[in-house]
């Protein structure tokens, strides 16, 4: 994955801003830093698919921060499309059905955890039961 990492993240952001131009202003003018972070996160997810706890910790934290940037649960679905598009544009027909499924499930797992982290952390005000 490493050699194509840069190409992937470039394709990713290009696709993202094509589809949602309004988002461009949420990111810094120089995307370099951002692109490296993206790749790091994806690598982390792949490495930790087998052990949940580190993934949980990192993803929920990431999710909470994304909430602060104004990311809504509905955005995660859109991001999946962007991710898969970027992946295909860079890996071409190496992305078989199996690979597609694997990435999709990995993404869903991570985003599910992120959304959990995004839920406000204060305890429910519940006087009853």
């Amino acid at each position: 994955m490493v050699p194509v990492a840069d190409r992937f993240s470039v394709a990713f952001y290009q696709r993202l801003f094509d589809a949602h131009p309004a988002l461009r202003s949420m990111f810094p003018a120089d995307l370099g830093e951002q692109q490296r972070k993206l790749v790091d996160e994806l690598a982390f997810i792949v490495d930790n698919l087998g052990q949940l706890p580190p993934l949980v910790e990192r993803a929920t934290d990431l999710g909470r921060r994304h909430r602060e940037y104004g990311v809504e649960p509905s955005h995660y679905e859109e991001m999946l499309d962007v991710t898969m598009y970027a992946l295909r544009s860079v890996l071409g027909d190496q992305v078989t059905d199996e690979v597609d499924t694997a990435w999709r499930l990995a993404y869903r797992l991570a985003s599910e955890l992120m959304m959990q982290g995004a839920k406000a952390s204060s305890p429910a005000v519940d006087n009853f039961d």
Partner: protein, 858 residues
């Protein structure tokens, strides 16, 4: 979904099939709301609390609340507890709302309707919502969210997270197929596979070892999981299935801490905090259902008796108040505290929960029969339609010593059953009269009795003499008397032609009601039927229909046959007046079936009369006669009796005996006036005129119409006046008035009569335009035929299809050439046709033609 739901609606109903995850969704919504600062109150409805008055909220009430005798104070207290708030409206979250007890449902419905709370509720797809809450949960300000099944990806992700590691594809496929996306089933299957060792983690990946056996049906999966629990530990689950929430101390005593820990580990039991004590509950209601089904009766008795013993020794009173304990004891076959049962029954009666009243008061009546309890039982039996048993209970009660107030209760219930169940208005009146003569009655009792008497009078066909009493009752400060008289008063006023007063009276009552009633949308419907009636009598047919159609819809949606019956009758009657006779017949036929079904045989007389009239107007003589014959098999029913002569009149008319028809109507009209049915009298007399003898009735109609404020009544009288005077303009005005009211049959008849006069006067133009107009009105009347619609010879020869076409084109400004080109014929053909049109319609030019046809379209 959440933001949509809470921004635009004030009530959310989450529906899903059993195990679809609705409780979880409600949890998520409420957590999110709570996190954003809203006050959230959770109310859990369970089978154990479903049939206990205020069972679902007992733990929220102050100690001893259900032991007082003041239902209103309790309700007020509960409202306060549920709705008080610092800033924004609180949110009530009710899981499993179909299990909510009637009393609590009533209070919540009132709070939601007045906008004091938001509601989020969950319900299984196949369960019915509690009656008092149907309007709130399905109304305009509510949104229903139907949960979809889980997708394949959802299932994979969920399994990975739940099991803590990646899951082999085969596992996903197997569990996915067998659960079909149902979250609970997925969970149960997964746990089952874990328990049996079929699902194991191999080198960090979860795999299935061997074939997962067993049924994929949810209940069976649950049952087999429960079967695997040791019998000793099972006792804990059984007790929980019976009582929902049990103190941990008690459970520990019963089965030991280890067993409890094991159950918790298996996900069959979870703990919670209730009123400061550690308690346990089953993890899913479905487990409770499965256990209860398998629980033998004697075993459950034994468990309950042990439970009661423990409670009475160890638990503080507020854990389970006197009412709850009494009910438990009753169910366990132990002697119960009768005072608690009585208080509970009265509470249930206040909330109109008849089934709970019977559950609590019937055993009470057996063991300690008193007149007051008998009155409660008798009324509850009446409410659920068991009239014979109701009478029996009242008879027994009447033999016991009773206070005057109780004797009034007994008498009023007996009179009600006599009136509506048996159809014997005389006996009902006598019952009340005997009580009125009783010297021990207090002034308040007397007011109440007079009001009842007067209401019965209206239903007994004597609205005239009832009015003064009813007016007095509506100014009483006893709310129940005041509201109870309102409907009868409105009806009496409408029947007397005092329609504005009638509408005022019912509006006032409807405005007063909400502050005092807590349950029962059915109550409101009784008022709406009366209001619709008043509108009709006032000549506001469109508004009357709107009310009745809404009410009919509501009654069908909420399964309320009684109100559906009354709204059907109302619509049937209205459409006799609008002239939509086929619709009218349909409504009357439906009312007949319903009425017979629910045992309202007396009122079915009205439905059958309506059928007879409609059939007669449509020319189905046999069907009309059959309806009248069947009517005579029904018990007597005097409410608005004079109107029923219309059936006899029109059937005679359609058989050709106009003389007899008029006689029947005229004679009945005289009775109608004598008893205060002024608007009926006008209808009857009007029909005498329509059936050929306007001179015979004109004077009376003028005099009667002058005593009413109804536009309809006046229109009828003026119509007859114009008929007698052969006044063409008067008839046209009548047609206009009837059209404005929406009474198209009458408008059509007025046009035909006017056309006749025009024909005799040689005014061809008027003849043509009036005929066109008459056709338009009659076209809305489903092919009915009345004498008034049949004019004698001389109607202009009708246009042929082609002539009609050309006439309209010409009237709309097309030249002969343009018409010819459009129709692909020669201009000569068009000219010929146009000339024929001119001749037939008696006009000389295109502008005349235009004027004639426009006149008809007015």
């Amino acid at each position: 979904m959440m933001s949509t739901a809470t921004n635009k609606a004030s009530v959310v109903l989450v529906r899903a099939p059993l195990g679809g995850g609705k409780s979880r969704v409600v949890d998520e919504i409420t957590s999110s709301l709570a996190a954003s600062g809203r006050a959230v109150r959770r109310i859990l409805a369970t089978t154990a609390t479903a049939s206990v008055p205020f069972g679902a909220v007992a733990h929220l009430l102050p100690v001893g609340a259900r032991e007082g005798s003041d239902a209103l104070a309790l309700i007020a207290g509960l409202r306060e507890v549920l709705s008080h708030t610092a800033s924004r409206r609180p949110v009530l979250a009710i899981d499993d709302v179909p299990l909510l007890d009637v009393a609590t449902a009533g209070v919540i419905a009132a709070l939601a309707a007045s906008g004091e709370v938001n509601v989020i509720a969950s319900a299984r797809d196949d369960e019915m919502l509690p009656d008092p809450l149907v309007d709130v949960l399905l109304g305009d300000r509510a949104v229903t969210v139907a949960l979809p099944s889980m997708t394949d990806d959802d299932i994979s992700t969920l399994l990975h997270l739940a099991l803590g590691g990646p899951v082999d594809g085969g596992v996903v496929v197997s569990l996915r197929d067998r659960s079909e996306g149902n979250p609970l089933l997925l969970r149960e299957l997964t746990r089952s596979a874990l328990d049996s060792g079929a699902l194991v983690q191999v080198e960090n990946v979860w795999r299935l070892r061997g074939d997962p056996t067993g049924s994929p049906r949810l209940r069976e999966v649950v049952e087999s999981r429960l079967d695997s629990v040791a019998p000793e530990a099972r006792k804990a689950l059984e007790l929980l299935a019976l009582c929902d929430i049990i103190d941990l101390d008690e459970l520990e005593l019963l089965v030991g801490l280890e067993a409890l820990a094991d159950l918790e580990e298996k996900g069959l039991l979870r703990t919670l905090n209730r009123l400061g004590r550690h308690c346990a509950t089953l993890s899913h209601p479905l487990h409770g259902e499965a256990i209860r089904m398998a629980l033998p009766v004697l075993r459950s008795r034994l468990l309950m008796r042990n439970h009661i013993a423990w409670i009475e020794q160890h638990a503080p009173t507020h854990t389970a108040d006197a009412l709850q304990r009494a009910i438990w004891r009753l169910d366990a076959g132990l002697p119960a505290d009768l005072d608690s049962l009585l208080r509970g029954a009265k509470l249930a009666a206040a909330m109109q929960d008849s089934r709970s009243v019977l559950r609590l008061a019937e055993p009470l009546f057996e063991q300690r029969p008193t007149a007051a309890i008998g009155a409660l039982v008798g009324d509850a039996l009446f409410q659920i339609g068991q009239w014979d048993k109701g009478f029996a209970a009242l008879d027994r009660a009447a033999q016991l010593p009773a206070s005057p107030h109780t004797r009034v209760d007994i008498g009023v219930t007996r009179a009600t059953i006599l009136l509506w169940g048996v159809g014997d208005a005389e006996a009902a009146l006598q019952t009340i009269d005997r009580l009125r003569a009783d010297p021990e009655m207090s002034p308040d009792d007397v007011v109440r009795l007079n009001s009842q008497y007067a209401s019965i009078l209206v239903n007994a066909g004597l609205p005239g003499i009832a009015r003064a009493e009813l007016e007095a009752a509506t100014t009483s400060d006893q709310i129940h008397t005041k509201l109870g008289a309102a409907v009868a008063y409105t009806n009496a006023l409408a029947m007397a032609g005092q329609t504005e007063q009638a509408i005022d009276a019912i509006d006032q009552a409807m405005a007063t009601r909400p502050a005092h009633a807590v349950t029962g949308v059915a109550d409101v419907d009784v008022y709406i039927v009366a209001k619709s009636f008043a509108f009709t009598e006032a000549g506001r047919l469109a508004e009357a229909n709107a009310l009745s159609e809404d009410g009919y819809e509501r009654a069908v949606t909420c399964s309320r046959p009684l109100t559906q019956f009354w709204f059907s009758l109302s619509l049937g009657r209205n459409h006799l007046l609008t002239g939509a006779i086929a619709t009218s017949l349909r409504m009357f036929t439906s009312a007949r079936a319903l009425g017979l079904d629910i045992g309202l045989r007396g009122p079915v007389r009205s439905a059958l009369t309506g059928c007879a009239i409609a059939h007669a107007l449509l020319g189905n003589v046999e069907a009309a006669e059959a309806a009248l014959a069947e009517r005579e098999e029904m018990p007597p029913f005097a409410f608005m009796a004079p109107e029923r002569a219309l059936g006899d009149g029109w059937v005679a008319a359609v058989k050709g005996d106009l003389l007899e028809a008029r006689r029947v109507l005229d004679v009945t009209a005289v009775e109608a006036v004598a008893t205060g049915h002024i608007s009926d009298a006008l209808w009857l007399l009007h029909d005498v005129a329509r059936l050929g003898a306007p001179e015979a009735v004109l004077d009376r109609m003028i005099a009667l119409a002058a005593t009413t404020d109804s536009a309809f009544a006046t229109a009828r009288a003026d119509h007859v006046m114009a008929m007698v005077a052969n006044d063409l303009n008067g008839l046209v005005r009548s047609a206009d008035r009837f059209e404005a009211i929406g009474a198209h049959l009458l408008a059509g008849e007025a046009c035909v009569a006017a056309a006749e006069i025009a024909r005799v006067a040689g005014d061809q133009r008027a003849v043509a335009s009036l005929t066109v107009r008459a056709e338009r009105h009659v076209g809305l009347c489903d092919g009915v035929s009345t004498p008034g619609l049949v004019a004698s010879v001389g109607i202009a020869e009708p246009l042929t299809e082609r002539e009609r076409e050309i006439a309209f084109m010409a009237a709309n400004g097309l030249t002969t050439r343009e018409i010819a080109e459009t129709l692909f014929v020669s201009t000569r053909t068009v000219s010929n046709h146009l000339q024929h049109v001119f001749d037939k319609l008696g006009v000389r030019s295109r502008s005349d033609l235009r004027a004639t046809l426009d006149l008809g379209k007015k």
